[in-house]
Amino acid sequence: MANKPFAITLKPGTSLANLTGSWRSSRPVYLNRLPPCNNACPAGENIQGWLFHAESGDYEQAWRVLVRDNPLPSVMGRVCYHPCETSCNRGQLDEAVGINSVERFLGDEAIKRGWKFDAPATETGKKVLVVGAGPSGLSAAYHLARMGHQVEIQEAGPLAGGMMRFGIPKYRLPRDVLDAEVQRILDLGVALKLNTKVENIEQSMQDGGFDAAFLAVGAHIGKRAMIPAGDAAHIVDAVSVLRSMEGEDKPMLGRKVVVYGGGNTAIDVARTVKRMGGEPLIVYRRTRDKAPAHDFEIEEALQEGVMIKWLSTIKQAGVGEITVEKMELDEKGFPQPTGEFEKLEADSVVLALGQDVDLSLLNGVSGLEIKDGTVQVAPNMMTGHAGIFAGGDMVPSERTVTVGVGHGKKAARNIDAWLRGITYVPEPKHEIATFDKLNPWYYSDADKTVRPMLDIIRRQTSFDEVQGGLDETNALFEARRCLSCGNCFECDNCYGVCPDNAVIKLGPGKGFEFNYDYCKGCGICEAECPCGSIKMVPEDI
């Protein structure tokens, strides 16, 4: 007592002795939620994950995270219909992040810089046959090769790419891009046998000593429609037209070309005809909003001068002319004939009415189930015949490149498990980071970057690529528009806003920790977390 100043009886102490965490009735926890873009991606890309690296300008790391799921980013950045952007939370704020354009930038950057895939760490000694070198087959081959399996692709056509080469026109997908990304997969050690049509899958597997097979032959037989036609009428199917564009002999269609159908293939053919100097007219039985083609493609076709006759069916095809009947939609939205006819000039008619699968290679294989012209597969992508898996356009699904790539990945994971005698169990999905989980106040205002478009005259006369790409500066801008939904991006908000210093910052890349000794459970950190990566959970009391 004698040593202490006047009126001081206790030693000074720190408030750290007072563990205010005992006040708490609920506690904050960090969690990862599933960003809506990732959830929507048919190829299962970790979009938020690769954008995270692109945001800091580490494009190579971004590309490496991207290609864990999809080996064709440069192709995908051109031809994907980007459901990720449709579901992007930023769309509710201003405009969706241009994910597709950043993906293309990363893919092009990889080609420019010559980035290669990491070689497989181990070799399993198993052999897998992939039939078809389209998006699905290439994707499966890539994933299987990276898992250490020996992969051989047998392709009936003269070049790899499938519909990416023989279906999608050059003005949407330049061939040097496709070639570069295919070559990178082959560089992993994947063997590619061209002009090798598999006639009997079981025989081919036996001959080559394969342990499993993945079938991805696609759907490339154009559907025919019964149109009364004179002997001299020139009727061809869309797939053959697009395929012959890749060869020496360009299709002879004449000047007035009628394209019959309302899907993306019809649009592709019409735009191709326009570029060859023809005058394409699309005839479709329903209306624009009912057409299966994507509206932006219809819009681009119209800009280029493609004519479209909605609500019409072809009744008869003759020499130099066709007869169409006007349709009207009934109350259920189905087209009904009206009895009004019209004659139109037509040097040829191209049928773009969808495609069927060539299933001849499956003749005699036991256990298969074929329904509506497609091969039925289990959720693990295996057909009814053990060891034979299938994916892409030949199984029931939406027929896009992205879905095909996704099938390839999924099949590869299941084939890998099957070869090891185990079952592939996907990790449980996190809850979705919906917009209401975010605090959008914290994001800077920034409108989407618009990609340059080729001028209209060159679009009408050349096969140059229509849509341009981003450069380094605006790709970075676009990447940084990402809200990082559901996943911490180290903005330090929780660390800053805690009135009790109860958040510990672990340092760059390491995230944060709560100090539950002092956290009073006020919930400010959760409310002010921009990206919804914190959740309050009740304490057991």
Partner: protein
């Protein structure tokens, strides 16, 4: 103001930190080595805006003064919850004397440092709105008039919270407090004349006057650092929501501070030598109801016996602030 014109950095300077910014462009609060002037274990309520505002401000002052800082505290929540004898949460030299004399004590500390030749040691005085706008007001005005070398920070939570939510001269019209109950024809606090202490401070023509909120950290840090670069009497009033006294959810503290600014209810500006030199513009203007409804102290304005005329009056006050300080960008103001 607090925002710099930057290239696009995802969240720019809205968030506390930002991994995309260079380290020297980040906030004091984002640093792993911030001084944590008021440490864990203090007895402030859950979600206390004042505890947060005090750490924001004093950490920034510490950073700017190279940790050569003495803090003087008036009586109030901040003093009581941080320093129940013999414990303290303060990690800076800190002194408390009386409710009303903090500016005078700070003047004395500054004078003492001057006499001792310790020119590098800076002095901050701080108090709540009661200790500043009511009880300590005479001492504060004297400190301003003498232009003593003190930064005075008022944490404004709009009532005497520590003693049980009694009205102060900073309590807004219509608010329910223990002494302004929601009864009678005009329930809650009276509209009255108001007492705008930042403007009174400006009337002393002191070097620097500013307002800030806990919702705009970068702006707050910018103002504290700027004030610490100056000498003479300086005044910053920081808007700090009080979940207990306002009847608000503890997680809404920052949201309410943001809404006070975005509605125009609390104008955020700075002034040098008596003239306004900058305002923090409203980014996304909100109607006053958005600010009032989450707070039980305004509950009697809504519901069965609503008082739309009083809400309209409060809206008029916010609109006047917007007009007077130019809180909206030109296009937004006329759009």
């Amino acid at each position: 103001m607090g925002y710099q014109t930057v290239k696009f950095y995802q969240t720019g300077t809205y968030t506390v930190g930002n991994r995309l910014l260079a380290p020297d462009e980040r906030s004091v609060q984002a640093g792993e080595l911030r001084s944590n002037s008021i440490n864990s274990g203090h007895r402030a309520c859950q979600g206390c805006g004042e505890a947060l505002g005090a750490r924001y401000a004093i950490d920034a002052a510490m950073a700017e003064s190279n940790n050569q800082l003495i803090a003087v505290n008036a009586t109030g929540c901040l003093e009581v919850f941080s320093t129940p004898y013999p414990e303290s949460s303060w990690q800076v030299p800190w002194i408390h004397s009386l409710f009303g004399n903090a500016p005078a004590v700070a003047t004395g500390v500054a004078a003492a440092m001057k006499v001792k030749g310790k020119t590098e040691v800076r002095v901050v005085a701080q108090g709540g709105d009661g200790g500043t706008t009511d009880i300590g007001f005479g001492c504060l005005s004297g400190m301003f008039e003498r232009n003593d070398d003190v930064l005075y920070i008022c944490y404004d939570n709009e009532a005497y919270m520590n003693t049980g939510v009694q009205r102060s001269s900073a309590t807004p019209p219509t608010a329910r407090t223990a002494t302004t109950m929601p009864v009678g024809k005009e329930p809650g606090n009276v509209f009255g004349q108001g007492k705008n202490v930042p403007e009174i401070a400006m009337a002393h023509n002191i070097p620097y006057v500013a307002t800030a909120t806990v919702a705009d950290l970068r702006d707050l840090e910018y103002k504290v650092r700027k004030a610490m670069k100056m000498h003479g009497a300086r005044y910053i009033q920081i808007f700090v929501p009080c979940p207990l006294g306002w009847g608000a959810a503890s997680h809404d503290t920052i949201k309410l501070a943001r809404l006070a600014k975005e509605t125009g209810m609390f104008p955020v500006f700075e002034a040098e030598h008596g003239e306004v030199t900058g305002v923090l513009k409203i980014r996304n203007k909100q109607p006053i109801e958005e600010y009032l409804k989450p707070q039980k102290r305004f509950a009697h304005l809504f519901g069965k016996h609503a008082h739309p005329e009083m809400v309209a009056h409060l809206q008029a006050i916010a609109d006047r602030n917007i007009r007077k300080y130019g809180l909206l960008d030109e296009e937004k103001a006329h759009g």
